[in-house]
């Protein structure tokens, strides 16, 4: 239908983009992960598995990775718990105000991530909004210290940031459910609760999976929230990677950790996609 030259012309730029900005850096990172650093702080281009060995043997690395996954899992859980009811309400009960509510959910996405993270800092700090309020109403006598610089703060902030990301695919999935299926279910004697669990929820699973993947993958790799609000106990794996590439000057180890995360994330995406396919019915 289109000429060969035209097809080449439109496919070449994105192909170049992917090669230069994705494939080459990944390949470079992959190579780095098998190199090492000499005591005189130069990169030795000799192949070794030491970095991966270190990753398994040094507790702080794999423990931080596990903690990051646990934080990401909690963020995913809470985002779903908030995002699903919101999407369900909007899709089924908002009526004419659906568009308005939809915009209200989307608006926070226009605000810089950094601003929102800082906002939580002001809310959760020792002299923050929340502590001041709690002491003012005499619920507490001293500022609650666990609010800021803790995994709690990280989970809270990331949940706030990624809930719209879980909301969107769930909302899209719910919007695609033909309403006559809900009517058919009621018609056959199913109560609203039965209808939800047997018809609406199963048909929204692809959206839930997509939303969960977003929340998990994005928060797993996050480094700003733990940096700003995590404190020593809220450190995540990306913070370690950042310091390895920075002050610690151990690019090979940083690359090895990054590569492990990449494999983890890609396999997760792969599984999620397979599951989504299994649960979608055209």
């Amino acid at each position: 239908m289109f000429s060969r030259a035209y097809r080449t012309a439109i496919t070449l730029p994105p192909l170049l983009w992917v090669t230069v900005f994705l494939l080459v850096p990944y390949l470079l990172m992959f190579c780095y992960s098998f190199w090492s650093v000499s005591p005189s702080q130069t990169i030795l281009h000799t192949w070794t598995l030491d970095n991966y060995r270190q990753l398994l043997q040094v507790d702080v690395y794999w423990q931080t990775l596990l903690r990051s996954m646990w934080i990401a899992a909690r963020v995913t859980g809470f985002s779903l718990l908030l995002g699903y009811p919101l999407a369900y309400f909007l899709s089924f009960y908002a009526g004419k105000r659906k568009d308005l509510f939809y915009q209200l959910v989307i608006i926070p996405l226009w605000v810089s991530y950094l601003v929102r993270a800082y906002a939580w800092k002001t809310i959760l700090g020792s002299d923050g909004v929340l502590n001041t309020l709690l002491q003012y109403v005499h619920l507490t006598r001293h500022p609650l210290e666990f609010l800021l610089y803790s995994p709690f703060a990280v989970v809270l902030t990331l949940t706030h940031i990624y809930t719209p990301f879980t909301f969107l695919p769930i909302f899209a999935a719910l919007e695609h459910i033909p309403r006559n299926l809900v009517e058919a279910s009621h018609d056959l004697g199913a109560s609203p609760a039965q209808t939800f669990w047997r018809v609406v929820f199963p048909l929204s699973i692809p959206g839930v999976l997509a939303g969960a993947t977003f929340a998990f993958v994005l928060s797993l790799g996050d480094f700003l929230a733990p940096q700003l609000l995590g404190g020593p106990s809220g450190i995540m794996i990306s913070n370690i990677v950042v310091s390895l590439f920075g002050a610690a000057y151990n690019w090979p180890l940083g690359a090895a950790i990054s590569f492990c995360m990449l494999v983890l994330v890609v396999s997760l995406l792969f599984v999620a996609e397979r599951l989504e396919k299994k649960w979608s019915f055209a």
Binding site: A184, L188, R198
Partner: protein
């Protein structure tokens, strides 16, 4: 248009006397838009009632009110001595076959059919045996394990039917269930559906815009127009004694003639005949097949007319002729297809076949 031939097939036994569903003065409006006005009708036990109307006549809304998906603005529904309209849809002993079937895409055929039994917490063995029986009834046993997307439209239709019937409802509602099927399958399903209805013996309320379908299947037809009930009668009655000009035109093909009675004589243009109708203006419906080519023997009391052949449309067994008579009167005449019609023709009709109808009010 082969309606008259098709009505010749045996229609069912007369309407039973006990009424199952009673619709009392139901009206519905969406904002300023009036969709239904003052509908009252009854559905007898075991009856096949068709709600017939064009799009926008309110027929689907009426069905949705019975099912419980819409609430009537005023009026009441009664079923078996109980108010029906106060119950949510899932508590009504009424089941629906939806226009686009509305099969659950994530469930297999047998799970779809079993759905209504499972939610009412029937035992597994009860569900299994009733599903099996329902699938056998609609000849879908072979596809029990298939997903709805893997079977054809006609098969989906049968599954939707089985899914509703397995609940053993007192009343089955069908919302244009055949409209998505192609013509052949559609005709076949009409026959199947009708015989299935006789077999299970429950009342069907069937919505369609297709007058031929209504004639073939129904015990009675309720004709809706612009939200109002135009006529409710058996297909034969509605065809031979249409109550209104709209009913006469919508069901089959007809000639509408303006006439006036004075002193026992009906005058209609240059035609006239004796009548015992009281004096006044009349609108008459005269079916094309009731106008006959003048034979050698003049029938007693027949009215004669002559005119020039304007147009002819071939319909297979018959032909529809447009004939222009004197003083501008144009009539349609149904005649056998084989004759070579030409030029000036003479016809006659029995005055009893010119049925007075009410003018249909313009309601916009």
């Amino acid at each position: 248009m082969v309606t008259s031939e098709q009505t010749a097939r045996a229609t069912s036994a007369g309407v039973a006397s006990t009424s199952l569903l009673e619709i009392r003065n139901v009206a519905k409006s969406f904002g300023k838009n009036v969709v239904l006005r003052d509908i009252s009708l009854q559905v007898a036990e075991g009856e096949f009632l068709t709600i017939l109307g064009e799009s926008g006549s309110g027929k689907t809304t009426l069905l949705r009110i019975i099912a419980g998906f819409e609430t009537a603005t005023s009026g009441e529904l009664w079923m078996g001595g109980e108010r029906l309209d106060v119950l949510p849809p899932y508590k009504r002993r009424v089941n629906t076959v939806f226009q686009h079937y509305a099969l659950f895409p994530h469930l297999t055929v047998e799970q779809n059919v079993g759905y209504g039994l499972m939610v009412e917490k029937q035992t597994k063995s009860e569900v299994a045996s009733r599903v099996e029986q329902a699938l056998a009834q609609v000849k879908m046993t072979a596809h029990a394990k298939a997903k709805p997307s893997k079977i054809s439209g006609g098969q989906q239709q049968r599954v939707a039917l089985a899914r509703a019937l397995v609940k053993r409802p007192q009343l089955l509602l069908l919302d244009e269930p055949l409209s998505a099927l192609d013509a052949n399958l559609r005709r076949q399903m009409q026959v199947e559906l009708k015989s299935l209805q006789r077999e299970v013996g429950i009342s069907f309320v069937f919505v369609t815009h297709d007058q031929e379908e209504a004639m073939v299947m129904s015990d009675r037809i309720a004709l809706l127009r612009m939200g109002g009930l135009e006529q409710i009668a058996t297909p034969r009655e509605i065809y031979s004694r249409p109550a209104t000009a709209y009913a006469a035109q919508f069901i089959g093909h007809t000639n509408l003639l303006q006439g006036e009675v004075r002193g026992g004589i009906m005058r209609c243009g240059s035609l006239s005949w004796k009548t015992n109708l009281p004096d006044g203006p009349y609108l008459l419906s005269l079916r094309p097949e009731n106008i006959h080519l003048l034979g050698s023997s003049l029938r007693a009391g027949a009215v004669r007319l002559q005119g020039k052949l304007q147009q002819r449309a071939f319909h297979g067994a018959t032909e529809l002729l447009r004939v222009e008579c004197a003083d501008g009167l144009t009539v349609s005449v149904r005649a056998g297809a084989r004759t070579e019609w030409q030029g000036e023709l003479e016809f006659e009709f029995d005055p009893a076949d010119a049925v007075p109808v009410r003018a249909s009010a313009e309601r916009i």
